[in-house]
Symmetry: D3
Subunit: 290 residues, 6 copies
């Protein structure tokens, strides 16, 4: 169950409102790298957690924190969409329609749809999509999903930090960047507890590895058409990262057949020509049609 | 530029066609854990690769391989949707409509829309979505995205392997599971080359870390309402995973203000009551309206 | 800022796990009538609230409560996907693949993607969509959006209640149905405070009503082709609901012209025939092309 | 069945074409507050109407009218994308590529994809989404959905009216604003016929209210962490809006348990550590694994 | 402007309600091959039509007809979701929850969300998507889009016809199949008027063909890796279909360079290793960093 | 199976980087007219091809070529997002934030999300959608889908060609335009092989045409409300395009009934008023409720 106190986790101050920056901040709210995604991702992972409860507990802690980050960013968007009263009054007096001033690069829905407030969309106005909320039930996979989310989130936050010279915004982003640092480390700590590379991989480590194809599991396949070019590197020689085998490298080549599908089902209403064909009609089809 | 040879990378054989399993296999084609996603993800990462070209080269190799995996799975779906000719003929002779037999748990669009072939959708018929193709331009983030994709992909493949007892399908999946093992290792190899945990984190490592908030960057924040309950673990004490600091833990508490937005813009057409309010109207609004 | 305590707002007990019902419950989580939507809707409305702060405060209270409802339902889904250990062990021993038993009408991604846990999707597996989070900045509109969300939510919950005979599930739903009753009343209370029908409508009430077309604003237009048939009712006579005029009724007829667009732009690469036309080429085009 | 006459319901004239305004108008066509949504919503409600046929008849009348509104707006978009022939000719003669002039804030697909015509998308180019078409089969819910649609639609139209000083566009919008006034009143008239607040609520009124939890149905729950702060108002005391009870207020507190899920299914391929765990492994899991 | 008469264009009768078939019929309503798509497609093409008005007029005629087809199908869905009263009463008396009987292969939202009525979704419950409404402003392209829509629509309708043995449904589908026949012919008639293959192609025929690359415009490129295998056919020899050249065939080979992107922008926060690289760092990057 | 060589199919050179043009080029990558769509469309058609294998072979050839087109365009986007090093260095020295310079009309995610690289989205940032990948299993339908895709693709490419005066970009586009010319011709060649208009239509030609309604299959229906206005043309008289009948024309009129649905299901929780109604309650409902 959840509670709130109505204050922000960290101060949000906008010195010079900027609707273009409001549009950009939306990426950190409703984008795939954004806070709605990590908030729901950690909470759904917690709610579906099976196994040691300590991870469920931690996921709840941080999922709840992320809710406060959405709140901070939503406030920042709203403040960036405000214009100082005086300035606005002056504009009212002028001939030019109010929206013109902020339309270059701004999100029109910030005016038309939300009344100068944040929305559950990304920086192009594309709505948040629930498919981004990853929880597989495999803890190691989920932790990688979380490291990745916090990495792309921190990359995004540093780019936003770079994109503004508003002191208040830079301060807020410096806080969020710091939290991403912690969260990256936090999920990595779980990965260590889960056994590190050798203990965890290949993920899932509960599948009997003897069942996988033993020729292709540590074998870099080059698809380069030139027989002499193969992208070699750490991944093509030496001990595999999971310590379970040795990397090899070879040219990819087809082990499989040319696929042959049966004729179309007569009641599926393909074209007649697909059944009686031209020169290339297969014997199989002929037999069947008689 | 790309080439093909019309053969499958690995043999695809279906002993007993099963439309329900065809529906499930779609998750591995058009789902977020599926092959269209990794194929496009590796290729887009390659096409946008900046920095050492060896990673671009490797991404191209494996992105091209994934295209062959889509092909294998699409073939597997088509074969699972086929019924042996004789059996079908018998059905034709019976009164019952042809579709009835396969509707329990099958994807209706496999009959209605695709003519018994694979589609670019997941196991619920939800279309593939380009937002899943992650490439951030930050190599370490992208490698984590790739490890995560191959981890959720291998989890999916093992679950599909479990869901069938068709010998041909199990063999094909054992091949794909093996490739996921290799690909997990492969992206981990790049992460090692990029400096391992200490060298890479916090991602991005090119952002001047002094700019981030120094109180909150290695500090686990507990949002549990009970002052005595905090989810402790490896993440709350000891050296941080990136080796740059020491974990601490404390109770989250608001550092920020109660947010205060200005009144609605007069030309944004909120309700009048939002401007003149009830008892709680702020001084700020009063001043402005006069 | 937000806090949690790790307990459920109301008890969630499943007597007889049922994966089909798990699929149905997803509608109440990630569907348009579901709890993710109302949770984010109330919170985004709070975060963007301009005007009397009492409404912002109330929205925060209830938005936070809805988070606990998602948690309850996510737990209910996970419990409905569990099978008693013994039963499972027996199944393992049998020949039949584990998934077969639950595929009739179940969501395949509950097995393939989430590891028997809830997801941010609806009962057909369609992901939650951020466009459903409505907040217009006009308080009366938003309250109607909320009444409507709680009405469709309560309708959904009663249908789910009807669809199960699991005692635990019925009890949980009876709690959620009660909360929907309260929340409907709660938003209606705000609508009353905002002036009731006469005070609020037409929404937005801050737009100068003299600017709207004065012939068509209280005039029911019948588009029935039969001159004698018009759908009469309370809406076609008597005082208008907002008390500002009297309802009238008349046949709709075109007040506007037949639309005439200019010729295609020569560099927009329409077909040549669209510029030089057949018999019906307009003079306007001819002139322009010379 | 439907008919047309090729004329516009109301005149559409654009004095000064403006591609930015064309982009904005798209919100009123393909946005969630737009005319495609209300058109399909009223028609689908009509086509699925069960109960007194008078409502079905009225929904058909107005659904058909909305089709004419899409037509008006689509025409307005096309006209806003036109440039006077002479002006265009001059541009052709200049060096600058034709598109440059209109790219600031315009929708690139108006040039690239539609050939200077309207599309079924919103003001950010996000496609219309069928999930917005609400029809629950519960008439009162549907009427609230309609009041809400017309309220957000009128808010949008007044903001568009504010965003232009084109006389023709303002006149067209003044017509549409008037229709929204009527339609708000019209759906409210049905709500009155359905019994008003006391008769209708809680929606659905056909569910036996005794079955809902009797403690929580008229009880405002405060989730504020501070025991002394509760968002009081009309919703926390006095007769409930539906006249069926009296509002109370109390602090939310967990009535439910800490959720406990079973261990991961052994064939679902979670990580091994989720089954054998660390210090916190539950007895339940231990027993089961033996 | 549009009108209606409340009757169906053709009779819709369901002899034996079948919720699975209701689910399938949704493909013809809200699927990509469905009637909402063609209705909006023809109308949007009409509303944006530039050039000879006769095509605009015809598009309006048929777009309006398609609205009646949605109506027919929506009615058919609603009727397929009805159960004869007696049968229902009996079910009420039994222990089994009402929904169980119809859940195998049915759309749960037909019960949970719409109250036994049609929705704007496809046969998997995926919402209609406005991106499917194609109108390019190039009349020949649009006519091909229309032929294609009516072809996939007729294929769908014949498969639905095959999937039912309900006499009423077969009769309704025989009507819709006939209309698809007409509509295919109708759009083909426009293509003939636009000049047939030689007159129309390559589309757009208004682009100065001399500007396109003259080596590759009638040249089949084989990407088969085997130098001796090329997919020959009518497309590789003889006069081109547009009569403007002669088909040739050759092996595809790269005419372009190996792509070389600049180093990452220093403020875009890639990893440091992407700038200073390993062994493969380019001279370009080195120079730039100094 | 697939191979690559790391070179581009045709040279891609950008003389003057232009982020606005990069945004526009995205339409040709991830838009509905773009290359991801045709690539996957041809490949999925190949992978599901039933009937003469020559078409499967050809589809594979061209699907593979399209992959190279995505690569070219992705490279073009990345190059358009680059600024010459010197120019960038100067900008660094200035006060203005780096992003400001390119925000007018650019895609913010090119900076925030992808690090100056192409993404799987269209020119508005809307993600690629798998529903656009059309393959019906009916070869003629699929060929029309392909002609249409190449027609809208060529229209798009000519508009992009028009929108730039960068010599390198114009050259690349002139190549792509040429390939679209060939591909249009190529699919038309298959249509000829499939029998041309008379042989192919109505599609599917395998459905027994006697089963379709014989009154309405070659009959243009006018829905114009004016009895004297009917959109006549080639489609209303003369031999039908498929040579199987003669076109006629008549006024559309309802052949069907006024639809009558049963009352709402008592356990579906509509409003009570929908069951007991007002004046218009049907006898059917009354009987049933007793």
């Amino acid at each position: 169950m959840f509670y709130h106190d109505g204050k922000l986790q960290y101060k949000v101050k906008v010195d010079k409102p900027n609707p273009q920056f409001a549009k950009m901040l939306q990426q950190a709210i409703g984008g795939i790298e954004g806070e709605i995604r990590v908030c729901l991702q950690y909470l759904f992972q917690a709610w579906g957690a099976r196994g040691p409860v300590k991870y469920r507990d931690m996921l709840l802690e941080t999922g709840t924190e992320e809710m406060a980050h959405i709140e901070m960013l939503a406030t920042a968007v709203a403040l960036n969409l405000e214009t100082a009263p005086n300035e606005t009054k002056d504009k009212m007096a002028s001939d030019s329609p109010i929206l013109e001033a902020i339309m270059g690069g701004a999100n029109p829905r910030h005016i038309l749809s939300s009344g100068l407030a944040a929305m559950a969309v990304d920086s192009n106005g594309v709505p948040f999509n629930g498919s981004w909320v990853v929880g597989t039930g495999n803890l190691a996979t989920d932790m990688y999903a979380n490291v990745m989310a916090e990495s792309s989130g921190r990359v995004l936050a540093t780019r936003l930090w770079e994109a503004t010279d508003d002191k208040g915004m830079k301060d807020m982003l410096a806080f969020l960047i710091a939290r991403d640092t912690m969260h990256q480390n936090q999920w990595l700590a779980v990965l260590e507890e889960l056994g590190g590379l050798e203990g965890m991989h290949p993920i899932p480590n509960s599948f009997p590895q003897a069942e996988e194809n033993q020729h292709f599991n540590y074998n870099f396949l080059s698809t380069h058409i030139d027989p002499k070019k193969m992208a070699e590197g750490r991944w093509s020689e030496g001990k595999s990262m999971d310590g379970k085998s040795t990397f090899t490298i070879e040219k990819a080549k087809p082990e499989g057949q040319e696929p042959e599908l049966g004729p179309p089902h007569p009641k599926g209403y393909a074209q007649k020509e697909q059944m009686t064909g031209g020169g290339s009609i297969t014997e199989k089809v002929k037999d069947w049609l008689e």
